[in-house]
C-alpha cells in the first residue's frame, strides 16, 4: 500500500468514525486557533512596544547633562568650569570618531508674532543634526543647515502645531515672523509626530505632542540674539551604530573631561531603554513559546489519548487486518496517517478559526494584533508535528499487536 493510498484510506477511515474524528479535530482546531490568536496578540503587543521605542528616538543616542553640585561646596575647578557649552558640542564633533550626530540645544520661551497674532512659544536653538538625532523628518521646506549656523541666519523651522496656530491653512514657507521683534524667515515645517495611547474612558492621547510644539532656529543665532553665553540646556549625541555606543561614551567623557578639568557632566546612554526593550522582547518570546508549547502539548495528549482509546476499541479490527495480510508496518502507517489526516485538517480549520479570533480581537476589543506568516507556519507545522509525534506511540502499539490475541479480544 503506497502512501497516497494510505492517506486516502486514512481519510475514509476517519470519515467512517465520524464521532471520534470530530472530537479529535475539535481538539486540534481549538489548540491551533488559540495558538494563532495568542501569538498574534503577543506579536501585536511586542510590535507596539518596539514602535514606541523606535518612534521615541534611536537607541544610539547619548544624553549629556550637567551634574548638580551644591554652590557652597564647589571646588575651584568646578567654579572655573563653564559647564556644557556650544564649544563642547563642536569639540565632540571634531574629536570623537564614533559620533554620528551632535545635537546641542538651548531652549527659550520667546514672544512670536505674525500679523496681529502674538504668542509665547518654545523655541529651540539647535543645528542640522536635530531631526536625525530625534528621528524627526521634515514635512515641508528644509531644516536648519550648517550654513545657517555659520551665518547666524535669522531662519526658523516651525513645529506643525505652532504653524497651525500662527498661519492656519495659509502657506507659511517664505513668510517672515518676528521673535522678540527680530524678523525671521520661515524655511520649513516639521512632520507631525504621533503615537497614541488609549487613555482612560477611551480618549486617545498623543504622547509625542510636545515634539510638535517647538520652533527651531540656528543655535548660533540663539546664542547671539537671545542668550548671554553659550551654555547648553541639553546635548544629545548619537553613535554611528548601537554597537558603537560604549565607545562613544568613552570618547565623549575623555573630550569633556579635558575641556572642563572636572567631571561636572554625565554621559547617559539609553541603555536602560535598550535593556527594557530587550527584556520586553525576551519576555514576549518566552510567553510566545510557552503558550505554543502548552497548547500543542495539550492537543497532543488529547490525540494520543483518543488514539489509544481507539486502538483498544479496534483491537479486533487490527486482528482482522493482520489475518488478511496487513503487516505490522501497514497497521503502523494506517494509524500514523490517520493521526496526520486528523491533525492536518484540524490544523487547517484551526488556522481559519484563529484568524477569525484575531479579527474579532482587533475590531471588537480594539487590541493590537499582528499575524505574521511565521505564526501561521508555526501553528500549523506544530499541530501536524504533534499529531505525528503523539500518534507514534499508539501506532507502534497497534503494529505490535499479536494477531491471535487480537482476534480473540472481545
Amino acid at each position: 500500500m503506497n502512501l497516497l493510498e494510505s492517506v486516502g484510506a486514512g481519510a475514509r477511515d476517519m470519515a467512517s468514525h465520524k464521532g471520534r474524528a470530530v472530537i479529535t479535530i475539535i481538539g486540534i482546531v481549538l489548540g491551533t486557533a488559540s495558538v494563532v490568536a495568542v501569538l498574534s496578540l503577543m506579536r501585536g503587543g511586542e510590535k507596539q512596544t518596539e514602535d514606541f521605542f523606535d518612534e521615541m528616538g534611536g537607541l544610539r543616542e547619548l544624553r549629556i547633562t550637567n551634574t548638580h553640585s551644591h554652590t557652597l561646596f564647589q571646588t575651584a575647578a568646578e567654579r572655573a568650569s563653564e559647564r556644557l557649552t556650544y564649544r563642547d558640542a563642536q569639540a565632540i564633533r571634531r574629536a570623537c570618531p564614533s559620533v554620528l550626530t551632535v545635537d546641542p540645544e538651548i531652549t527659550r520661551y520667546l514672544t512670536v508674532s505674525y500679523g496681529d497674532k502674538t504668542f509665547r512659544m518654545k523655541v529651540l536653538g539647535t543645528n542640522r543634526d536635530y531631526p536625525h538625532a530625534d528621528n524627526m523628518p521634515v514635512a515641508e521646506g528644509r531644516f536648519i543647515s550648517d550654513k545657517d549656523c555659520e551665518n547666524y541666519a535669522n531662519v526658523i523651522m516651525m513645529g506643525p502645531t505652532y504653524k497651525e496656530d500662527l498661519f492656519g491653512d495659509e502657506e507659511a514657507i517664505g513668510k517672515t515672523i518676528t521673535l522678540e521683534g527680530i524678523p525671521f524667515e520661515v524655511v520649513g515645517i516639521m512632520t507631525k509626530k504621533e503615537f497614541y495611547f488609549e487613555g482612560s474612558g477611551g480618549s486617545e492621547r498623543n504622547v509625542l505632542e510636545w515634539f510638535n510644539r517647538s520652533h527651531y532656529i540656528p543655535i548660533t543665532t540663539m546664542i547671539r540674539r537671545f542668550t548671554v553665553n553659550d551654555r547648553l540646556d541639553g546635548l544629545e549625541i548619537s553613535a554611528v551604530s548601537v554597537e558603537a555606543v560604549p565607545a562613544l561614551i568613552e570618547e565623549a567623557n575623555r573630550v569633556l573631561l579635558r575641556r572642563h578639568g572636572v567631571e561636572d557632566f554625565n554621559v547617559e546612554s539609553k541603555s536602560e531603554q535598550i535593556q527594557q526593550r530587550n527584556d520586553q522582547e525576551a519576555f514576549f518570546n518566552i510567553i510566545f513559546w510557552a503558550v505554543a508549547f502548552v497548547s500543542l502539548f495539550v492537543g497532543g495528549v488529547v490525540i494520543a489519548n483518543i488514539m489509544l482509546a481507539s486502538i483498544t476499541e479496534r483491537i479486533r479490527e487490527i486482528g482482522v487486518r493482520k489475518a488478511i495480510g496487513a503487516s505490522g508496518r501497514d497497521v503502523f502507517v494506517q494509524f500514523v496517517v490517520e493521526a496526520l489526516v486528523v491533525t492536518a485538517s484540524g490544523g487547517a480549520f484551526g488556522l481559519l478559526l484563529g484568524l477569525g479570533l484575531v479579527t474579532i480581537t482587533d475590531r471588537v476589543l480594539n487590541m493590537p494584533t499582528e499575524v505574521t506568516p511565521a505564526i501561521l507556519v508555526i501553528a500549523f507545522g506544530c499541530s501536524v508535528a504533534v499529531g505525528v509525534i503523539f500518534g507514534l506511540f499508539p501506532a507502534i502499539r497497534a503494529a505490535r499487536l499479536d494477531p491471535v490475541e487480537a482476534l480473540r479480544y472481545q
Binding site: A9, R12, S16, V320, K322, A323, I324, G325, S327, L407
Partner: protein, 226 residues
Amino acid sequence: MLIRTEELTKSYDLGAAEVRALRGVTFGIEEGEYVAIMGPSGSGKSTLMHILGCLDTPSTGRYFLNGTEVSELHGRELARVRNKEIGFVFQNFNLLPRVDLVANVALPLVYHGGMNRAERRKQAVRALESVGLGHRLKHRPNELSGGERQRASIARALVTEPSILLADEPTGNLDQKTGREIMGILDELSKAGKTVILVTHDSNVAAHARRTVEIEDGTIAREGRA
C-alpha cells in the same frame, strides 16, 4: 503436497507452568482436499489452526506451505503469506462494521498491492456476486443477516484467490438452516477444486469434509476418510 508439517510443537511459557498446546503434529494435505480438523476445546486444534494459517509460528518442527518453509518466516513475510495463500473464514465473521461490503471484501487486495482502487472494487464485487450477495454491495455488515455476513466473509476469503480456505467454526454463530447454506457454499468451492480446511468440534459440520483429522491433547489421535 500443499501442506506438510513435521513434528510441530507449540509451548506457552506462563511463568510457573509451561503449557504444551501441541506435542508433535505431523501430517499433510494435498491440493484440492476437503479436510476437517476436529477436537474438543483445549485439544490444541485452535493452536494448530493458527499455525496453519500463519498467524502464529511453531515452537519447534517444520511447516511447508506450497513448497515454502513458512515456519522460518516472520513478520512481514508471514503477513504476505497470509494475504496471498490463505483465506480466513471466522466463526464471528469479523467484518469491519463501519464500511460497506465492497470495502470489506476489497480489504485483502489493499494489502496485496499492485491494484488500483477501481480494480479492487471490481474484483470485490465479483467475489460478492459469486456468493450470492450481488444485491447487498452497499450494505454495512449490521444491516445483514448472520448468513449474509458469513457469505461476505467467504467472499473476502476468496478475493485474493488463495491456495487454502481456512474456516474456523464457520457455522458456530448460525442457526441450522443458515449453517447448512454456508456449508453448501463451502462444498461447492471444494467441488470446484479449492482446498478447504474446516476447524470444528461439530461432527455434523465435519461430515461435509472427505477427510477428518482428530486432535486430542496436542497430537493427532485419529484420522478418517469419508
